[in-house]
C-alpha cells in the first residue's frame, strides 16, 4: 500500500463527515469528497511531510468548496433530497440530543448560511482546528474568522428563534 493509499484509508471517514456537514446534500458531499482526493493525489508531491496531512487535506477541501462556482457543491435547495438521506441523518443524531425537531431545524439553518460563514462554522465546530489554524487554511485574517463565526451564530440564533416562535 502506498503512502497515499494509507492516507485515504485513514482520513476518508473524517473527510466524509466534513463534506456532508459542509454541503448538506449527500451527492454534493460525495462530489466534493472525490474532487478533494483527486486534487490531493495530483498535488501529493508538493505535500510537506513535516506538516499535518489532515490539515493539508482539509485545506484542499475547504478551498475547493469556497472557490467553486456558487451552485457547485451546493446545488440542492431541499434540506434532504430523499427519504433515505433523512433517515440516515436522523440515525446519526447523538443520543444526548433528545429534541429531534430542534436538531432538524439546526440542520436547515446551517444550510441556509452563506457559504463562507458555513465553512468557518463547520471547520471550527469540527473540533479539529483552532481559529488561527482556520485562518491559515483559508488564508484570511484571524479577525475575519472570529467575525464570521460571530455572524454565523447570530444568524443561526435568529433563524432558530424564528422557528421556535412559529
Amino acid at each position: 500500500m502506498t503512502d497515499f493509499e494509507r492516507y485515504v484509508a485513514e482520513y476518508s471517514r473524517e473527510l466524509t463527515r466534513f463534506c456532508i456537514k459542509l454541503c448538506g446534500d449527500v451527492h454534493d458531499a460525495e462530489d466534493l469528497f472525490q474532487d478533494t482526493w483527486a486534487r490531493a493525489l495530483d498535488k501529493f508531491d508538493q505535500y510537506d511531510q513535516s506538516s499535518s496531512f489532515k490539515s493539508w487535506l482539509f485545506t484542499i477541501c475547504a478551498n475547493l468548496f469556497r472557490n467553486s462556482k456558487k451552485l457547485k457543491y451546493n446545488s440542492s435547495k431541499a434540506v434532504f433530497s430523499s427519504k433515505e438521506e433523512k433517515e440516515k441523518f436522523l440515525n446519526s443524531i447523538p443520543d444526548q440530543e433528545t429534541d429531534v425537531d430542534a436538531y432538524l431545524d439546526l440542520h436547515a439553518a446551517i444550510l441556509s448560511l452563506p457559504k463562507k460563514h458555513r465553512l468557518v462554522l463547520v471547520l471550527y465546530y469540527f473540533r479539529e482546528f483552532s481559529q488561527s489554524e482556520i485562518a491559515r487554511m483559508l488564508d484570511i485574517p484571524e479577525g475575519t474568522v472570529k467575525s464570521r463565526l460571530n455572524t454565523a451564530k447570530k444568524l443561526l440564533k435568529r433563524r432558530l428563534y424564528d422557528e421556535e416562535t412559529q
Binding site: 476518508s12 456537514k21 474532487d35 462556482k69 447523538p94 465546530y125 469540527f126 473540533r127 447570530k154 435568529r158
Partner: protein, 325 residues
C-alpha cells in the same frame, strides 16, 4: 417565546458537527481521472476555440481601425486641426479650412471603415495616386464623413497609434449634466411599486459617487481607472451590515435589499427574488441590525454602490451607500 442561549447553541453545534454520518465515501481515482481528462480535454478545446475567435476579432478590429496604409479608404480619422490629402507634391493640404472635419469617435470611424470595406462607394478612389480635388469637390465632400471620401492620410509626423488614445466615451463637460437626465424617472409615468429609482424617498447619504456613469453600450473594462476599473481577483460576494430603526421594523416579516450602481439597478429586478433576501441579526429597542450578502459575481468592479433595504410591502427601511473595493 424563548431565545436560544449561547450555551445551548454551542452544545447543538458541537453535537451536529461531531455526529457520525453513518456512511463513508470511497475514493474512485479512475472515475475521477476520466472525468478530469474529459473536463480538461473539453476545456482545452474550448479554450483553443475561444482564443482563435478572439485573435480573429482582434486582428479584424486592428485592421479596420488602422487599416492598410496603401489603401486610402482605411484611414485614421483626421483631427480637426490636421485635415490633409495624401501625397501632394508640395505636401500642402487641399482641405477647406471653412469646413473643418468633425472629429469622429473611435467607434464611429471603426464602424465606418467596416461599412466602407463591405460596401465601397463608387466615387471612392482606392488607388494611391494623387487625390487632389477641385475646390468645388472639396466643398461637397467635406460634408460627407471624412473616412468615406476624404483622402486624408496621416502626416508623416503623426503617430498611427494616436487614435488609440481617444477615450471610448465622451467625457462630461461643463455643458453636460453630471447625471444623465434621461435616466431619472418621469413622474408622469406610473411605475410599479416599489420604485426602482433609489433617488425617490429617502435622501442619499454619503459622499458623491462617480460623476458620470458610463453610457449605454460601454463595457465595464473600458472605464478608466479613475472611475473604478476592474477589481483584482475573482468576483466575490460582498457583505453589508445595516441598521434599521426598530420602530420601522414593526410588522415587518421580511427584509430585502436591492443594489444600485449609480442610478442603475444591478441584478434581478424582482424584489422577492431569493438573491435579495436579507438576514435579520440583532434587535434592540433602538435599532435592528440586518445583514446582506450580494449574489456571487454581482459586483465585479470597485466603485460606489447603494444598498436599499425594503420590507415585504416594498417600503424602504434604510439605505447604505458604500464604496466597494
Amino acid at each position: 417565546m424563548k431565545k436560544l442561549s449561547d450555551e445551548r447553541l454551542e452544545q447543538m453545534l458541537s453535537a451536529y458537527c461531531e455526529a457520525d454520518p453513518q456512511q463513508t465515501f470511497t475514493f474512485h481515482p479512475e472515475e475521477t481521472r476520466k472525468k478530469l481528462i474529459a473536463f480538461i480535454g473539453f476545456n482545452r478545446a474550448a479554450a483553443a476555440a475561444v482564443s482563435l475567435v478572439l485573435v480573429s476579432v482582434l486582428s479584424l478590429t486592428v485592421y479596420f481601425l488602422f487599416g492598410n496604409n496603401n489603401s486610402t479608404p482605411f484611414v485614421v480619422a483626421p483631427s480637426p486641426q490636421s485635415v490633409t490629402t495624401p501625397s501632394t507634391p508640395t505636401g500642402e493640404s487641399d482641405s477647406d479650412p471653412n469646413h473643418p472635419v468633425p472629429e469622429p469617435t473611435q467607434l464611429k470611424s471603426l464602424w465606418q471603415n467596416i461599412v466602407d470595406f463591405l460596401f465601397p462607394r463608387p466615387t471612392e478612389n482606392n488607388s494611391t495616386a494623387n487625390n487632389r480635388t477641385s475646390p468645388t469637390e472639396t466643398d461637397r465632400m467635406s460634408t460627407v464623413t471624412p473616412s468615406a471620401t476624404e483622402a486624408a492620410r496621416p502626416k508623416p509626423t503623426q503617430k498611427t497609434g494616436e487614435k488609440a488614445t481617444e477615450k471610448p466615451y465622451v467625457q462630461p463637460t461643463e455643458h453636460q449634466p453630471i447625471r444623465p437626465t434621461e435616466k431619472s424617472p418621469d413622474p408622469t409615468v406610473p411605475i410599479d411599486p416599489p420604485s426602482d429609482d433609489p433617488t425617490e424617498g429617502s435622501s442619499h447619504s454619503g459622499a458623491p459617487g462617480p460623476t458620470d456613469p458610463p453610457g449605454e453600450g460601454d463595457e465595464p473594462w473600458l472605464i478608466p481607472p479613475t472611475e473604478g476599473g476592474l477589481m483584482p481577483g475573482a468576483p466575490t460576494e460582498i457583505e453589508i451590515f445595516a441598521q434599521v430603526d426598530s420602530d420601522r421594523m414593526e410588522g415587518v416579516t421580511g427584509v430585502y435589499c436591492k443594489v444600485y450602481s449609480g442610478d442603475s439597478l444591478i441584478g434581478s429586478s424582482d424584489l422577492y427574488d431569493s438573491s435579495h433576501t436579507v438576514y435579520i441579526l440583532d434587535s434592540s429597542s433602538q435599532y435592528t441590525e440586518v445583514y446582506y450578502v450580494t449574489p456571487y459575481g454581482l459586483i465585479r468592479q470597485s466603485g460606489f454602490y447603494t444598498f436599499v433595504f425594503y420590507d415585504q410591502n416594498g417600503s424602504e427601511l434604510t439605505r447604505v451607500k458604500e464604496y466597494v473595493y
